[in-house]
């Protein structure tokens, strides 16, 4: 059990500098070995509006933003007015008493007014530094940790700026010591450092570990972080990064690079993915291994660009006209995304098909701590049956005729093999010339769509491609049933909801005496229908938890297993689930109140 588990909320207008104190706090906690999760609720603005960052830290696992706030730092009156009501006994609010008036807090909430003008000698930029210094003092963090963090952040601006900020921090720290009551718990130092990163960084790093040499994108929230990370590390790592004119161009360019032999990847959000879908089908037809990440945001159309949703499942399933094999995976966390990308590349390379990743704003723009030991940059690499120009695997071409392939049938790019997988020569290999065609084609690549239309050949090629997928399921791990088999209720989720459902299961047991278990699904295609059916047929009550309105996963589960859930918990207001949303909904459903719960999001941003 965690001994310490606290959350800090910092709110204000966009442009008021919420990111920097958030980053300072997150890094200080992670450097002490604490686990953390930070979620920034924001709007599509560069100035104004309301932004609210929640940082939760604990010595135990932190899988989501949690249910409660212990410390509120409102940078404007609006934040105070919106969020003070969320604080319960034991919590505190630190605010600039010169410009913000507190409302009436609940009993036991400590008001910590900071006379900012006096403490900063009128320096407006220093207010945030004073507030986090006071916060750290109340959490029992030694001043040195903050001093180091400020030195790191302001290093580029010179010693004078560092010294000035350290001075303001000292003032805030000392003011808290003499005026505020410290928390009964301390943020411990566990003596090991954790890495801090966003989900988008984890996705980029996963691509880097997988050996991505070509990354293309069109900027689109909330996927742009992947592009920015890739772009800023491209030259040091030897990766070609391109910002392309549109997502149509992105996917086609990625296919070109992959066809030539690169591991190539792109990321976008649902709207961009919609533009890519014709080309996704082309990757299926050309049998080109590419990886595309869809960071889902609330849709449809432009939707809510800065809010989260799991609304693109059926778009992924139906992307591209016609039938073709594809792989779809929904990582459950940033760390899982990091590990999943190399795994997916290996499968795409072996099965010569597109691989699609369903992330969402919650994972991608969320910040988490990861033990650096878990960041393995030497994952297993499996390129499948590729024929390279240096002679590797040069088994089935025509050595006597280096210009052969297209002029004879010595090499068949789309050979109708037993496995359905045909050895893939990259351009530049003598004796293996062929055309990769988006039209239906014969084994040698010749078009059979126009004058050679032939139902027998067409059927052979459709079946060849489909047959590739027969063995892929055996290469990936099925989901586990977490919790007691005899539970009263089984909560089923997919992708990013794993963490919040896990905490809800723990809370149901600890606080409500309700025994629940959990299935978190990662792989959508292929789908472990048998294994999941086996687990679910023993469940007393199945409730599906998902971040969309229509129950996209519920429909998919039914289509693949014939199993209809007993109940549903759905949220589509743009904000992620909090554990208590699920706990309360499960209670309602067990008491027979409803079979469809739509939790209300109490934090208004």
């Amino acid at each position: 059990m965690a001994k310490v588990d606290f959350a800090i909320g910092i709110g204000g207008e966009a442009g008021q500098g919420i990111a920097t104190p958030g980053d300072i706090l997150a890094r200080i906690f992670a450097r002490r070995g604490l686990n953390l999760n930070a979620y920034n609720a924001y709007q599509s603005l560069t100035r104004g509006g309301h932004t609210f960052l929640t940082i939760r830290a604990s010595d135990g696992p932190v899988r989501n933003m949690g249910d409660k706030l212990d410390i509120l730092i409102p940078l404007n009156q609006d934040t105070m007015d919106r969020h003070l009501r969320l604080l319960g006994a034991g919590a505190c609010v630190l605010f600039d008493s010169d410009k913000i008036k507190p409302g009436t807090p609940a009993e036991g909430v400590q008001l910590c007014p900071l006379p900012i003008k006096q403490l900063t000698a009128g320096n407006k930029l220093a207010a945030n530094t004073v507030a986090i210094a006071a916060t750290l003092q109340m959490l029992g963090v030694e001043f040195k940790a903050l001093e180091d963090a400020l030195a790191r952040i302001f290093k580029r601006k010179g010693d004078a700026v560092v010294a000035e900020n350290v001075g303001f921090a000292r003032t805030g720290y000392d003011y808290a010591t003499s005026n505020f009551k410290a928390f009964p718990f301390k943020a411990p130092n566990l003596g090991k450092g954790n890495a801090v990163l966003t989900g988008n960084m984890a996705i980029a790093l996963g691509g880097i570990a997988a050996g991505v040499k070509f990354y293309a994108a069109y900027p689109m929230s909330p996927s742009t972080g992947v592009l920015m990370y890739m772009a800023s590390h491209a030259r040091q790592l030897g990766i070609m990064v391109r910002q392309v004119e549109d997502e149509i161009g992105v996917m086609n360019m990625v296919i070109g690079a992959a066809h030539a032999g690169c591991r190539a990847m792109c990321a976008t959000s649902g709207g961009g993915f919609a533009l890519m879908t014709e080309a996704v089908g082309m990757a299926g037809m050309l049998e080109t291994p590419v990886v595309c990440v869809d960071v889902q945001r609330a849709g449809p159309a432009t939707g809510v660009p800065t809010k989260t949703e799991q609304g693109d499942l059926w778009q992924m399933l139906g992307a591209g006209q016609g039938d073709f094999p594809r792989l779809i995976v929904a990582p459950t966390s940033a760390l899982d995304a990091f590990k999943t990308i190399p795994e997916l590349f290996n499968l795409c390379d072996q099965y010569q098909c597109p691989g699609l990743v369903l992330s969402d704003l919650l994972i991608s723009e969320g910040t988490t701590s990861i033990d650096p030991k878990d960041l393995n940059f030497k994952p297993k690499i499996e390129r499948g049956e590729v024929i390279w120009p240096n002679g590797n695997g040069n088994g089935n071409g025509n050595g006597a005729n280096p210009f052969g392939g297209a002029t004879d049938n010595s090499y068949l790019r789309y050979k109708n093999t037993e496995s359905g997988i045909s050895p893939r020569a990259v351009p530049g290999v003598p004796g293996h010339i062929h055309v990769a065609a988006s039209d239906e084609h014969d084994e040698d690549g010749t078009l059979i769509s126009d004058e050679f239309t032939n139902p027998t050949k067409r059927r052979i090629m459709v079946e060849k491609r489909a047959r590739k997928m027969e063995t892929v399921l055996s290469q990936i791990a099925p989901p586990n049933l977490v919790g007691p088999e005899t539970a009263e209720v089984t909560l089923v989720g997919w992708g990013s909801t794993e963490g919040v459902i896990r905490e809800a299961v723990e809370k149901l047991a600890a606080e409500e005496g309700i025994v629940a278990n959990q299935i978190a699904v990662r792989w959508i295609v292929p789908f472990h229908a048998d294994e999941i059916s086996h687990m679910l047929t023993r469940s007393k009550r199945i409730i599906i938890v998902e971040n969309n309105q229509s129950g996209q996963f519920a429909r998919y589960l039914r289509s693949e297993t014939g199993i209809a859930a007993h109940g549903h918990i759905r949220k589509y207001d743009g904000e992620p689930f909090m554990p208590h949303h699920i706990v309360n909904a499960v209670k309602d459903q067990l008491s027979g109140k409803t079979e469809l719960s739509v939790p209300e999001h109490e934090i208004f941003v």
Partner: protein
Amino acid sequence: MSTVVDPSPGTVAAAPASAELNKDSFKNKVHPDWCPGCGDFSVLAALQTALFELGLKPHQVVVISGIGCSSNLPGFINTYGMHTLHGRSLAVATGVKLANHELKIIATGGDGDGFGIGGNHFMHTMRRNVDLTYIVMDNQIYGLTTGQTSPTSRKGMKTKSTPHGNVENPINPIPLAIVGGATYVARGFSGKQKHLVELLKGAIQHKGFSFVDVFSPCVTYNKDNTYQFFNPKVKALEDLGHDPSDLHKAMDRGYQWGEEIPIGVFWKRTDLPSLEESEPVLDEGGPLAFRQLGISDEQAKALIAELL
């Protein structure tokens, strides 16, 4: 499943010394399915001759097309080929070129493919000056869909989708390409194959984005822009004393239309680096496609250190 080891940094393999190139080296076993008399036959023959005369090996060349009659060309030539989606040849071609910059890349297609559905990629591939050759077989009509108006159909032209005459203005590809940033801009005519061979050789040898718009008559659906229409009108720019390094004269010649229609090289500049030359990632180490995957322990350490 057999595993092929990751190749060590390499280059596009040179052909064995015994392999002799001859005029038929670029011929494919598949015969074109174009209508008899189609201008595209001449473009295919000119491209095959140009590649042969430049001494290129078939496996070192990738011909990449979109969709349309003319986009069937990769299937009729003995080089590596990609037959991509409608309008997308240039995006795919850019990806192939950046992944393996030692390959010679030729993108081919029609006017609908390149200036209609693919117009956005056309603009951006030009400004990037990607080192590839783009040949548009411009027949001023949609042929594969049996005769609808295209972006280069002249105003007033009657087609199946404009039965009362086209009321829209056409695109003029030559000034568009000059302004768009192409660094080699030429126009050829299927009826002047020898001239076209020279234009294509110049384009393929040019370092940067080379664009060759070819009047390639559709004998089935375009009764306006026929061989008989073009034959008396086309005049070689070299015979007109044109200087392709003069931007303003190039624009003037590009807009010329009437009794005299210029063909030849309108515009050429060699002072701009291509995209591959501008991208330091390609400076050393050979084609990206053949580089060792993954990163070194030191690089991994540095990435993790940034996160702590």
